[in-house]
Amino acid sequence: MAPQVLICDDEAHILQAVRFKLQRAGLEVLMAHDGAEAWELIQQHRPDLVVSDCQMPRMNGLELIERIRSWEPTAQIPVIMLTGKGYELSPELVHEKLRVAALFTKPFSPRELVAKVQQLLAQTQTPAAH
């Protein structure tokens, strides 16, 4: 079965572009428009990787990642963060506390994002993490 990636962004066009690239790379895609919707889907489907925006209504990206990390079944899922203001986030919070695997600052390259997703999936799936 193809690895499953959840993408979360309040910008519908960004969601569509990233889904298009991920599906072309042969991945199964789940989409959420805000952190709260993403958290529901994550609990239901336990995706292999999460790509999330930072500023979103209802529940922001940082809060979403905090929840992912503090719930045992999802604590180890690799997370990629998309953000409009990367320089304003402390690396300590992003990398050490939330263990974000990669940070993409908008505007970003979907090509590079998909390459990173594939690299992270290869890393987690080779040693049979599940």
Binding site: Q55, P57, R58
Partner: protein, 489 residues
């Protein structure tokens, strides 16, 4: 010991010694002991000692009386430089007892001399003292904290300075520098190394913990006759710093808002350039997205420029009699795709009357677009945004209501403030902090209307705009003929 107590002591000895000797002598006689001669000798010695004691005490009392007499005759102008030796010979014991009295008299004498000097000055130059009094009241009335330092002591301090440093009634002048903070003596020491006159400045925070104010402190030295003084002036920078911070936040918000459409443009361009899309229909769809996002970016820049122009008072307003319903319909038509994309129902409930206002069509359309897109932005998928119009109390009223996240009371007070953005919490989307201030500027500043908001968190918000109808405005307008012409057309 007081002279009275001394005298009591002496009398006790004087009585006890001979009596003791006599008793001993009598006892010796009764017992048949031959003590008679020895005891009589002893009694004589005791009587002699008592006599000496009485004589020396009397002398001391006389010396003290003389000193007191001299003190009472000493004129007050000599109190300041009173020399205890000059009062006459006194035993060390009495000198010690007189010392506090002498010191007290010296202090009172000094104070008297100062007062006399000041009185003399005022008497000599009444004009100078009047000018000084004027200067003092001028300093006191200044809202800027000012103080003057002489020899590490604050010798002058106005009311604003007392308030800035939270000084209490008991802090009298001259005041030690340390009372005003550790940094001040350091700054003045640095300043003292420079030639007079010189200036130095630094920044400090003063005031109670949760209401500190930031000051730029300027210390300057100056000479007054032979004296060297330093003035310290506090310039309040709190508002300036706050504006700078808001401005930085605003620039950050604007750049973030610009990045959203730019991200889409970049993503779809890359996908198309990479040749990922074979289907011509999909190619066209992606190109349309690029086009709409470029348009969104353009609108944002227009908003920015428009607000800047209105604020600078250089905006071109082209007022005509227009129908508010037409403007509302146009805004809804433009924003329908955005609402549909987010699965939000965008509906209108417009008055059947033709509600005319004298206004700038483009500006009013901009204001309505900002209000409706704000409602769409803060409403989750599945919600509803309603645009209404009506005539109420002879005024044209339109409103934009949403079923969105709502606005907290503390934010509601400030949502129209320029650069104010609702703090990023999990309930809010991003914004520029510009859309609502611009809408309010257009409605209130350019069209003499009113724009207000009501909201209950979790239940949505309603923005209500009121504009004067064209009839009244046309009568008051500079160009009644053009207004009437437009109305009849």
């Amino acid at each position: 010991m007081t002279p009275l107590r001394l005298r009591g002591w002496i009398s006790t000895v004087a009585l006890a010694a001979p009596v003791g000797v006599l008793v001993l002598g009598a006892t010796g006689g009764l017992l048949g002991i031959p003590w008679g001669l020895a005891l009589e000798t002893l009694a004589l010695v005791a009587v002699a000692a008592v006599a000496w004691l009485i004589w020396s005490t009397t002398r001391e009392i006389q010396a003290v009386r003389k000193v007191l007499h001299r003190l009472s005759e000493l004129a007050p102008e000599h109190w300041a430089d009173l020399d205890p030796q000059s009062l006459g010979p006194l035993s060390p014991r009495w000198q010690h007892r007189f010392a506090p009295l002498v010191e007290h008299l010296k202090a009172v004498g000094k104070r008297l001399m100062e007062l006399e000097e000041r009185l003399a000055m005022q008497h000599l130059s009444p004009q100078t003292s009047a000018a000084e009094a004027r200067l003092e009241s001028l300093l006191e009335s200044l809202p800027v904290p000012i103080l003057v330092v002489e020899h590490d002591q604050v010798v002058l301090l106005n009311g604003a300075a007392r308030r800035a440093w939270e000084l209490q009634g008991e802090d009298h002048l001259p005041l030690s520098l340390e009372r005003l903070g550790e940094w001040l003596p350091g700054l003045l020491r640095q300043l003292a190394k420079r030639p007079v006159p010189s200036s130095l400045s630094t920044e400090v925070e003063l005031g109670p913990q949760n209401a500190t104010r930031r000051y730029k402190v300027v210390a300057s030295t100056f000479a007054q006759g032979m004296k060297q003084l330093a003035s310290v002036v506090l310039l309040d920078q709190t508002a300036l710093k706050l504006t700078q911070e808001r401005h930085a936040e605003f620039v950050s918000a604007v750049s973030h808002e610009m990045k959203a459409p730019l991200s889409s443009i970049r993503a779809y361009t890359e996908i198309l350039l990479d040749g990922d899309v074979e289907d011509p229909q999909q190619q066209e769809e992606f190109l349309r997205i690029i086009d709409s996002q470029a348009d969104r970016l353009h609108r944002l820049i227009e908003n920015l420029l428009n607000l800047a122009r209105i604020e600078a008072g250089v905006v071109q307003v082209n007022k005509k009699v227009i129908s508010i319903n037409e403007i509302l319909q146009e805004a809804v038509r433009l924003l329908r795709p955005t609402a549909e994309e987010k699965q939000i129902k965008l509906q209108t409930q417009l008055s059947p009357m033709c509600l005319r206002v004298l206004g700038d069509r483009d500006q009013l359309l901009q204001a309505v677009i900002n209000l409706v897109s704000n409602a769409i932005k803060y409403t989750p998928s599945g919600g509803t945004v309603t645009v209404r119009s009506r005539l109420r109390d002879d005024m044209v009223q339109f409103e934009v209501e949403d079923t969105g996240v709502g606005i907290a009371p503390e934010d509601l007070k400030r949502i129209f403030d320029k650069f104010y953005r609702v703090r990023k919490d999990s309930h809010m989307a991003s914004g520029t902090g510009l859309g609502l201030p611009l809408a309010r500027s257009i409605i209130q500043d350019l069209h003499a209307g009113q724009l207000r908001a009501e909201s209950y968190p979790g239940q949505g918000s309603i923005f209500i705009a009121t504009l004067p109808p064209a009839g009244k405005l046309a009568a008051a307008s500079d160009e009644p003929s053009s207004a009437l012409a437009a109305q009849s057309s």
